[in-house]
Subunit: 231 residues, 2 copies
């Protein structure tokens, strides 16, 4: 990996189907300037990671599913991220999934529209659909809506809707997912900090304090700021 | 449950086979006075919880096992708890297990020697054996050694070694484990905070900040103090 600046590079591997990824995403976006890190957003496929690692979704264990809902509600409130469970979480997570959405985000990433800014915005809009408003994220018109809301032009959306079905985009998503697996991912989010030539991987959205310690910074709590108002 | 004081009651369900439980145990022992909580130690059986909840050990997923080791090493250092992986963690965790140790701790709890003080000390000595010094915790002589090191008299140890095989102690361990399952446990540690007549359950050793928030207190980091020197 090319280190383009002297700032510490922090990669976030995520999938919009994962609500814990949304928490990690918002917190790292907030801390980007506080910690002066170069945050690299890496849209990946959770399904691929689960398959490769032989893991199974936590919600398959009934007590975990119950706990996860209460845990997420508490965390969402604490971190000021408007996570709201869809009416049929199993259908949303396991039947409909996120393949198209993650291909769409990969296409956004490929195009590098306004650097990573558009990738961040479109990711957030898709999360708001699935994990806040219980809206579809599988159909082209859903992705189009999210893209327009994020500030893409109609022609950019049109182009992305062609691009996201292309082989290079499919390959790139697969490749990013494989990279996560190389960092021993078994779920998302996976945050990889590059410190002194070493990669330190953190799973989940509950190691921020340790992550800060690892990059020589301080954890200062949820830090909801003007970023939050934008969600 | 009878609330015997006006302090907030926090229960910790744990098993010495679980290294994450050790972290949770030490942190809560340190914060007992900082937060002015009534900490109730609840020795339970992880194996029973896994079976009841249909969960399987995280280490069964190879990437999780690798991650767990690096995660625990980082956390142990950060929290100043001398966790050190045994040479054969699978044998220690899944073959030898903790049934005798948890029955012994249940007997200590039953006897209420010096309130909960002895339960805390003996738990710590057993954790040091299994998760710091790679020593046995299944044989009576191992439990005896831990008990003596914790400050029990030889006659107290003798009595406990009779008591821990008795039906009432077996039943009590089973009952405590069932209580944990009622709180939707699928693993340990499980911390249950009783606030305004409501029980809030937190799984793992990575929700201290949220837990503090839940009981109206502040999380101040690892807080290694004179307690730590004693480990």
């Amino acid at each position: 990996m090319q280190m383009s600046s002297s700032r510490k590079v922090v990669e976030l591997f995520y999938d919009v189907v994962s609500p814990y990824s949304w928490l990690g995403f918002e917190v790292l976006c907030r801390y980007r300037n506080v910690w002066n890190i170069e945050l690299r957003l890496r849209p990946s496929l959770l399904g691929g990671v689960m398959k490769e690692s032989g893991n199974r979704p936590p919600a398959m264990v009934p007590n975990k599913a119950v706990y996860m809902q209460s845990d997420l509600n508490r965390l969402a409130k604490y971190f000021s991220v408007p996570v709201c469970f869809p009416e049929n979480p199993f259908e949303v997570m396991f039947e409909k999934g996120s393949l198209n959405a993650m291909r769409f985000l990969t296409a956004v990433s490929e195009k590098e529209i306004s650097g990573d800014v558009m990738l961040e915005r479109v990711s957030r809009e898709i999360w708001k659909r699935i994990w806040s408003n219980d809206q579809d994220i599988t159909l082209p018109e859903s992705l189009s809506e999210a893209g327009l809301k994020a500030g893409l032009s109609a022609s950019e959306v049109e182009e992305l809707l062609q691009l996201y079905k292309s082989q290079p985009v499919k390959d790139r998503l697969k490749h990013t997912t494989e990279e996560a697996v190389k960092h021993m991912a078994f779920g998302f989010p996976l945050t990889v900090c590059h410190v002194d030539g070493k990669a330190e991987a953190f799973f989940g959205s509950d190691r921020f304090e340790l992550l800060a310690h690892c990059i020589g910074e301080k954890w200062l709590g949820p830090q909801p700021d003007e970023q939050t108002a934008k969600i």
